[in-house]
């Protein structure tokens, strides 16, 4: 039972990250390496710039119903700004150039944070009420895990509804499938792309919140590891396919947790090597991903 919840909550993180990357990839074929730094940025936005070990929280004192929208808005805002300032100039560049540009942008964000906050991890108590355990079916589960899973499911439903029921969502799905065609039919490219960036930034901020609440520390690198897994999840899920990204995110989370319990003690430190090995196997048998998105197949 504990394992199941571990797997689900880790999977939730990866799934949210993968969604953020897949959304942007869908509309503009950009593999956004700055995503991890957006995660860190949105949580650092809560802190007052200082190099002390204990974070000086200025916005963190807010009640949760103000705090959460604030963080989400920071993530979305940064993401949209980066689109306007940087990625807009790369509309016609090839994917490798965009990827390196996004990496360079992430680099700028990371060192900007480093300048303001130093590289030391800071302790922060964010929503401390959530770390108490609750009892579910005889297992003691931290309340936060339950909320993480519930929040992820809620976000997934909200996002599905948004994409399926609203006009904007429809435009976004059309753009993901065939961008040129969508534009010809009257979809405004910039608006859709900015929408995708805003959503992706908000998702990044949500991950930041969950991570900070889970670990009680914030540091500049915290986005990076989630982003890598999310990135892998996006690809094995089928690049540009949102359900694929979510499914692969949960699978990766499950694979990590299950291998941790199943592998013999000697092999446990090498867990990640097995997970990555599994990723290579999936790619070899399904190079287009678990759920292939339409329009991304290679034409050979």
């Amino acid at each position: 039972m504990q394992t199941l919840f571990d797997a689900l909550s880790l999977g939730s993180l990866y799934a949210l990250g993968a969604l953020g990357i897949a959304l942007i990839f869908g509309v503009m074929r950009l593999v956004n390496f700055a995503h991890g730094d957006v995660i860190s940025f949105s949580i650092f936005a809560l802190l007052w710039p200082s190099t002390d070990a204990v974070a000086i929280v200025f916005a963190g004192e807010l009640p949760w119903f103000v705090l959460i929208p604030f963080v989400l808005a920071m993530g979305a805002g940064l993401s949209v700004v980066s689109e306007i300032i940087v990625f807009r100039r790369f509309r016609r560049a090839n994917p490798a150039t965009m990827m390196i540009a996004s990496f360079a942008l992430g680099f700028v964000i990371r060192y900007f944070l480093l300048m303001l906050f130093s590289s030391r991890p800071k302790s922060i108590s964010l929503l401390p009420a959530l770390s108490q355990p609750v009892e579910i079916l005889g297992a003691r589960i931290p309340l936060l895990q339950v909320i993480t899973i519930a929040a992820t499911i809620a976000i997934l439903f909200a996002l599905t509804a948004f994409l399926k029921r609203t006009r904007f969502g429809l435009e976004m799905r059309a753009a993901a499938e065939n961008f040129t065609m969508a534009r010809m039919l009257g979809v405004r490219a910039n608006r859709v792309i900015m929408g995708a960036f805003a959503l992706s930034g908000a998702l990044a901020a949500a991950i930041g919140l969950i991570l900070a609440a889970q670990t009680g520390t914030v540091d500049i690198q915290m986005g990076a590891s989630v982003m890598l897994m999310a990135f892998i999840a996006t690809v094995i899920g089928g690049l540009g396919s949102l359900p694929g990204a979510v499914l692969a995110g949960f699978l990766l989370g499950a694979a990590s947790v299950v291998m941790q319990t199943v592998l013999p003690i000697d092999a446990r430190p090498f867990r990640d090597a097995f997970v990555y090995g599994a990723v290579i196997m999936v790619l070899i048998f399904r190079p287009q991903g678990l759920i292939a998105a339409r329009g991304t197949k290679e034409r050979v």
């Binding site: 074929r29 593999v31 940087v86 100039r89 790369f90 016609r92 560049a93 090839n94 994917p95 490798a96 150039t97 990827m99 390196i100 540009a101 990496f103 360079a104 942008l105 680099f107 700028v108 990371r110 060192y111 900007f112 480093l114 300048m115 990076a224 890598l228 990135f231 892998i232 690809v235 094995i236 690049l239 430190p269 090498f270 867990r271 990640d272 090597a273 990555y276 090995g277 990723v279 290579i280 790619l283 070899i284 190079p287 287009q288 991903g289 991304t296 290679e298 050979v300």
Partner: protein
């Protein structure tokens, strides 16, 4: 051999650039600057190694730094004094424990060791293409890093392996960088290199003309793995310490950025990208330390160096999305229009210039 005659100016010019940098270092004669130049040569080796595979095949690889890691540790195993190995790396087999090779022999074996693993991984990975191949190479890097970070007895896990002989002279690095350039050039004009670039630009037509795409990619993968392994060995000798995390994401992205900023499909771009970005980094470092003009010292705040570097990279890419050199090579004489129009060594002058070939 007209292909050699037509294209030999590129490696010669690049070699001259590298020698010029070495001579500047000798003339300056300062120890820190010497180290900077060694770093430039090391990055040239690594980025040229990346170019051999990425530039010719058009497949982005995030995994090549893994071979650098393999090479660096192989160099450590082969060249450290046996006494040190006994305490630091007790798990090594006896024959390895008792060997101590000179650094150049160690580098050769390191290159072969990396090439062996490139062959093993490549055999599986080269069946993939596009973004799936990129992620698979990344997974390979992560696997190598995980194994080297945890295998206590032969890699000392995440703690650093010290005691690797340090080479302070710049000449071995210069020679290795020139070797890397020449290997890359020879591969680019060879049958395998041509076939691979054909597959990059027109996969369907190339396959229809009898190009075995996975095989050609594998050849380039092994060759670039060997160059990366050699670079890793020399990297180890330049600082005398190796840790698995030296050879992970940061180095991967630094080298990839240099390749992309220089121009992904061009050997000259690979070398110039390193030289330009390294000079920029060095200039910013000096600024950070403070420049005295008259009586005032101007210094930029710490951390601004990286921010400025990132911004400059973005600006270069905005101005030149295909990199500084795009797909062209440095040539001599530059004024000859027929030569200038050559987009890749060995291609017919009449060919339409091809756009970047990284597959979607």
């Amino acid at each position: 051999m007209s292909v050699i005659r037509r294209t030999i100016s590129t490696p010669i010019l690049l070699t001259l650039i590298l020698i010029a940098i070495a001579l500047i270092a000798v003339a300056a004669g300062s120890r820190p600057f010497n180290q900077t130049v060694i770093d430039i040569f090391l990055r040239v080796i690594l980025v040229v190694g990346l170019y051999i595979f990425i530039g010719n095949s058009g497949v982005m690889s995030f995994g090549h730094i893994g071979f650098t890691c393999l090479g660096a540790y192989a160099a450590a195993w082969l060249t450290m004094p046996p006494m040190m190995k006994q305490t630091l790396l007790p798990g090594l087999p006896d024959w390895l424990m008792n060997t101590q090779l000179p650094y150049w022999a160690g580098a050769i074996f390191a290159a072969l060791w990396a090439a062996l693993w490139a062959a093993l991984f490549g055999k599986i990975l080269m069946r993939l293409s596009g973004i799936a191949a990129s992620i698979a190479t990344f997974a390979m890097l992560a696997m190598i890093n995980t194994v080297y970070s945890n295998w206590e007895s032969v890699t000392a896990a995440t703690s650093s392996v010290v005691g690797i002989p340090i080479i302070r002279s710049i000449w071995p690095y210069l020679i290795a960088a020139i070797i890397a350039v020449i290997v890359a050039w020879l591969h680019a004009i060879s049958r395998a290199g041509l076939a691979l670039r054909a597959a990059r630009d027109e996969p369907t037509a190339a396959a229809a003309s009898g190009v075995d795409i996975p095989k050609q990619r594998l050849i380039a993968f092994i060759l670039s793995g060997a160059v990366m392994g050699m670079g890793g060995a020399l990297f180890a000798h330049s600082i005398g310490v190796v840790t698995p995390d030296t050879f992970y994401l940061t180095l991967t992205f630094t080298t990839l950025s240099m390749l992309v900023v220089g121009g992904i499909g061009s050997l000259s771009g690979a070398v110039l990208g390193v030289v330009i970005l390294s000079s920029l980094i060095q200039a910013l470092r000096w600024l950070e330390a403070g420049v005295t003009i008259g009586t005032t010292t101007i210094a930029i705040p710490n951390g601004l160096q990286e921010i400025a570097l990132g911004i400059v990279m973005i600006l270069i890419l905005i101005r030149r999305p295909a990199g500084i050199m795009a797909n062209s090579e440095l040539r001599w004489p530059l004024s000859n229009p027929e030569n200038v129009s050559l987009k890749n060594p060995g291609e017919n002058p009449g060919n339409k210039p091809t756009q970047q070939g990284v597959s979607k």
